[in-house]
């Protein structure tokens, strides 16, 4: 009896410790979310110095966005660039993680390599994009190098080809995040019970077999974590393509992401459209989360 009441007394601390999170979440996330949704039903923008609206227009903003057909394009741009960056990133990270944690390889200078691969993550996306933009401009260093060694006879216009722009964005994302992913995966790999490896080696398993039969399955939770966080990051892709293409998403908006599109409306203070767009994004994220959730729980069974 005494013990129980004590536990209850302690457990109210659960609420107390949760309080900061809840308060801040409600104020800075929930309230804005509600305002955003509320705004999506209004015509509300600024034209020059005069304010138009807010006038209630029901679902008109939603209809406009839905009918102009841009959303699927920007969604697929975002996903394409995310996948182009994520696939090499996860492969590279798994490989490096496996090597770094493989005791039989006994790699030297691990500290150096680990330091180096995490380095690109420290560059601001905006600075990195700016750097790539200048390096890959028509008269930039990359072009002049390629011309010096005779790959091209005239400057290659990296910024005006759909796939070269997308590849640059993907490359930057991959470079910036593979070090981070490697380190997360390594943490996971090192957490695997070493006796499993020993047993496998005694049974004569090769390094490849060990990787596929032991490391990979046991790494699944952390892989899912990496995948989900990367997907969230991918959906939010903004800085890199925004600065690389100066906000245009050119050529012909083939590298315009969802958030860049949202930013356009926010920037021109068209709150109605920005609101409706946000709600669409919210729904898209929700559906994707659900898919990932279903996918992972199904695999577990």
């Amino acid at each position: 009896m005494n013990k129980k009441s004590k536990v209850v007394r302690y457990n109210k601390w659960g609420y107390i410790f949760l309080l900061p999170f809840i308060v801040i979440y409600l104020v800075f996330q929930m309230v804005p979310l509600v305002t955003t949704i509320y705004n999506s039903f209004f015509e509300n923008y600024r034209s020059g110095l005069s304010q138009i609206g807010p006038n209630f227009i029901g679902l008109e903003n939603y209809v406009t966005i839905f009918t102009n057909g841009d959303l699927p394009t920007y969604f697929s741009n975002t996903m394409i660039m995310w996948i182009m960056g994520f696939v090499p990133q996860i492969i590279l990270s798994l490989l490096l993680g496996a090597w770094f944690t493989d005791p039989s390889l006994r790699l030297k200078c691990q500290g150096f390599f680990k330091t180096v691969i995490y380095l690109p993550n420290l560059i601001m996306a905006s600075a990195f994009a700016m750097l790539f933009f200048t390096l890959f401009s028509d008269s930039g260093p990359i072009n002049s190098m390629l011309m010096q060694i005779g790959v091209f006879s005239e400057a290659y216009k990296f910024m005006s080809n759909v796939w070269s722009v997308r590849s640059l964005v993907a490359t930057m994302n991959c470079l910036m995040w593979f070090g981070n992913t490697t380190i997360l995966l390594m943490a996971g790999m090192m957490g695997i019970d070493p006796s499993l490896f020993e047993a496998a080696q005694v049974d004569g398993a090769t390094a490849t077999q060990i990787f596929y039969k032991i490391t990979l399955p046991l790494l699944k939770p952390i892989l899912i974590y990496v995948m989900i966080t990367s997907l969230i990051g991918g959906l939010q892709m903004f800085d890199v393509p925004q600065i690389l293409t100066n906000g245009t998403g050119d050529p012909m908006r083939s590298s315009m992401t969802l958030i860049m599109y949202l930013n356009k409306h926010l920037f021109s203070k068209n709150f109605g459209m920005a609101g409706a767009l946000s709600v669409y994004l919210f729904v898209i994220t929700g559906i994707l989360s659900l898919i990932v959730y279903k996918f992972t729980t199904k695999e577990d069974k």
Partner: protein
């Protein structure tokens, strides 16, 4: 004097109410202050009667998009002392510069926010003076956020020496002048003398002019230039020459209209880009700037007088400009580009200082001549330009000693700005971005135009684009 102060106050309040009342569009701001159109004499009579209240402000807030005006003020306004990159001092008054780059309407958005808050902030935070460009001057001129020069006590006599076009840009619908500029930015074709001698056999401005005097001749000459291994220029360079000679504004009755001359720019440029005569580098970009050095192999740029000083890197010993290697001629069509107008913001608590800055910087002939001599600005004074055209003072080193003032002055007289709209900057930016896709073969013309219209409607939801 008391009455005047009351009137200024009333104006501020009215402005505040106007902004507070949501849903006011620009055309129903009809308050008592927005008087019926007045004749020049009436306005002058008003101006002569004005007595400004004494300045009470300790801080002079200036909004601008780069440090051009700051440099002018530092060099030519008596008593201006620089403190650091964004602060200065005039006597006891602290000058605070707010610089926001103009791309993507960022400058305007920021200025809009500041002006809309004008009535709510403390006196020291109020905008006192701001700069505008022709592309969107009307947006501010047609609203109560700017004070008519007549209400500052500036009469038309004091401005008589300015070029008319510089005034029509900043005159509101009631005929009141709301701003003033020290520049008259008639523009032309700035060519590489070395290349002209090599390909055309002459670098004499008149002879080169004869070879580019209309678009047909220009295209023919450009082809010759390209055959010799040069790039003529960027298609973006020629844009303003076309867009200045349109038959109507971008937006008519709330609808976006693509003028035949804009279409001509699109078609001509596409042909030239396909023939590798012109390239498509964005203005101000790294690639575009390569022609400033001989190795860039660019034949010409299109630009006004400020271009000489700001864009040709004369300080750099490797540049063409440092060797006086440029020439200036009028080019296929006369046009203007840029220019900065000074506007007084409603609600300023430094009216006398603002008035004095406007008068000194845009009408004082001695100052204007200094500006022309030091910065190669084509100044907004008929007298000074005539003087320069007839004297050695007008010879410009980076143009190989050529005196371009006669051409510049003639150009300034010819400029017609009846087709300006407040949407020009956004439309220009989006058109250039969209057409680049067409020029480079990433889109058909129709697709590019559709992309342009979409971008305009995103930027200006109130314009109908179909």
């Amino acid at each position: 004097m008391k009455r005047r102060m009351v009137s200024l106050l009333a104006m501020a309040t009215m402005t505040a109410t106007m902004f507070a009342g949501c849903g006011n569009s620009s055309d129903n701001s009809g308050s008592a202050e927005q008087a019926a159109p007045a004749t020049a004499e009436e306005i002058d009579a008003e101006a002569a009667a004005v007595e400004l209240p004494e300045d009470t402000g300790k801080v002079l807030n200036i909004h601008c998009w780069n440090d051009e005006f700051q440099t002018r003020l530092k060099d030519h306004y008596p008593g201006y002392e620089e403190v650091d990159a964004t602060h200065g001092k005039i006597g006891d008054v602290e000058v605070v510069w707010t610089m926001t780059p103009s791309t993507d309407n960022a400058y305007q958005n920021n200025l809009d926010d500041a002006l809309l808050k004008q009535a709510d902030v403390s006196d020291d935070e109020k905008v006192d003076l701001f700069l505008v460009e022709a592309d969107y001057a009307l947006k501010y001129v047609d609203e109560d956020v700017t004070i008519p020069l007549s209400e500052l006590g500036i009469t038309s006599d004091q401005l008589a020496d300015q070029y008319t076009y510089t005034q029509s840009i900043v005159t509101d619908s009631t005929g009141r002048l709301k701003g003033s500029s020290w520049q008259a930015c008639s523009a032309g074709l700035i060519y590489n003398r070395e290349a002209a001698k090599e390909v055309l056999g002459t670098d004499d401005p008149d002879e080169v002019q004869a070879l580019v005097s209309d678009w047909d001749k220009y295209n023919e000459t450009a082809q010759k230039i390209a055959d010799a291994g040069y790039t003529m220029c960027s298609a973006m360079d020629t844009y303003r020459t076309y867009s200045n000679n349109v038959s109507g504004p971008w937006v008519q009755d709330g609808k976006l209209v693509i003028d035949p001359n804009i279409e001509k720019w699109i078609d001509d440029s596409k042909t030239l880009v396909d023939a590798k005569v012109e390239d498509t580098d964005d203005l101000w970009s790294d690639d575009w700037g390569k022609g400033k050095n001989p190795e860039g192999k660019v034949f010409c740029y299109f630009g006004p007088a400020w271009f000489f000083n700001f864009c040709l890197n004369a300080d750099d010993s490797a540049s063409i400009a440092s060797k006086g290697g440029w020439g200036y001629c009028v080019g296929p069509q006369s046009y203007f580009w840029g220019g900065t107008w000074i506007c007084a913001a409603t609600g300023t608590d430094n009216a006398n200082l603002v008035k004095d800055i406007i008068l000194t910087m845009t009408t004082d002939q001695k100052v204007l001549k200094d500006i022309a001599m030091k910065d190669q600005d084509c100044v907004n004074s008929k007298t000074v330009l005539a003087e320069l055209a007839g004297s050695e003072d007008g010879n410009i080193a980076l143009l190989g000693g050529q005196n371009p003032y006669k051409q510049l002055a003639e150009g300034a007289e010819k400029i017609d700005l009846s087709n300006l709209s407040k949407y020009d900057q956004g439309c220009t930016e989006e058109l250039e971005k969209a057409m680049k896709n067409y020029f480079l073969g990433n889109a058909t013309k129709d697709e590019a135009i559709a992309a342009f219209k979409k971008a305009v409607s995103e930027k200006y939801p109130d314009i109908s684009v179909d």
